[in-house]
Amino acid sequence: MEHLREELDELNKKLLEMSFLVIGSISQSVNAVINRDKEAAETVFQRETEINRLEILIDKLAFQLLALQQPVAVDLRFVTMAIKINNNLERMGDIAVNIAERALSLLSMGLLMPKVDLHYMAKLAQDMVADSITAFIGKDPELAKNVLKSDDAVDKLRDQMYGEILRFMEADPHMIHPGVDHIFIARGLERLADHATNIAEDVLFFVQGVDVRHHAQEI
């Protein structure tokens, strides 16, 4: 029994480690865009290797646990949740890299930029990510449900940004290339929010034993 607990703790620990790395990467990638910070972008690229390494490690731990310890009930649900969250976190790391690449692209274009405010959308997305991780740590279904509710707001913002950026691009050809990058960044932020809701759904599955995916409106 001891081995099982130890291994579950190790799995949990590694997952937390990965969560914080990813949250950091997202933060740095947003930083790179908003503050035109090249070094912040570089940090994201460097961290990517570590995130990928952890993904593979966590998978290995999880499968070894399943195969050798044959956990049941809540422990089995925990391992299942861990595998899914692991996958979501790695995708989020990828998105942070994409955003950082867009940041570098924008940096190479000079200072003429569409005047759209990515701050708010970035904050919303990052809050959702942080809340989804907190919900996982605390096994907190209420917080998880809040994350699910926030998804609509982010989608609306993305659509709104799209319209604004489009207008800038149509008005001035110099805005076209930076405009496209801004659109990609907005989409990246929306995808981050999406993954945060996936994590929240996984937490709800763990806590309630109920599969809530594709049924967000019933919550």
Binding site: F63, L66, I83, L166, M169, V180, R187, R213
Partner: protein, 221 residues
């Protein structure tokens, strides 16, 4: 343990059904774009619901089978691989829905130019999905590796399409909305290719035990 084998077979069949649905969604989305037909979207939404339901079914089966049958080694890996492949297929479904939504913007005004690269890119992405699932059925690692190789082609098309459309947009602001939508479609297709390579990576691990995620150079060696 025959009962377990039957269950695993059933799971595999549902996965393949999901795969065929996803492939048909890609084909429909491409047709909608190429034929400039806004009406095909309805069919895609219907299939999307089916795909989403299958994902939940497959996930639940995987967990139940693990809990009830206490499978060992290879079977556990298969169960969770099935769950992961189901996730990739569901995301492919999402991308086809995005393509339809972007196509809506493309169709708002007359065609910018004849579509040359997007249809080819679409075919490659569709084939990557088909091949990745065929490689699972046949336990064929060289086919799976081939899927990984095609990723570079898809990336190249994405870059080319971007360059061409950027030129259009800069020359004529009236083209911006449509060109942007086409660029976004190329990214949807690129992401579909990405999901296909993820499936291929799972197959390689399942069959050969080689971990090739983030290391395609190992896979293609």
């Amino acid at each position: 343990m025959r009962h377990m084998d039957e269950q695993l077979q059933e799971l595999l069949e549902r996965l393949l059904l999901m795969g065929r649905l996803a492939e048909s969604m890609i084909a429909l989305a491409l047709r909608s774009l190429i034929e400039r037909n806004d009406l095909l979207g309805a069919e895609i939404y219907i299939k999307e619901e089916e795909v989403n339901n299958l994902q939940i079914e497959i996930d639940d089966s995987a967990v139940k089978l693990t809990a009830l049958q206490q499978p060992v080694g290879g079977d556990v890996r298969f169960l969770f691989m099935a769950s992961r492949i189901a996730t990739e297929l569901e995301r492919i479904g999402d991308q086809t829905v995005n393509i339809i939504q972007n196509t809506h913007h493309v169709l708002k005004a007359p065609a910018l130019k004849p579509l040359v690269d997007l249809p080819v890119m679409g075919e490659i992405a569709e084939k990557m999905v088909r091949d990745s699932l065929d490689s699972l059925i046949a336990r064929d690692c060289s086919l799976a590796a081939h899927v990984l190789e095609e990723e570079a082609k898809v990336d190249a098309y994405r870059d080319q399409i971007f360059r061409v459309l950027l030129t259009y947009m800069m020359a004529d602001p009236g083209t911006v909305e449509r060109a942007l939508a086409l660029i976004l479609i190329s990214r949807n297709l690129e992401r579909i290719g990405d999901h296909a390579t993820n499936i291929a990576e799972e197959v390689i691990y399942l069959v050969e035990g080689r971990e090739v995620r983030h290391r395609h150079d190992i896979a293609l060696a």
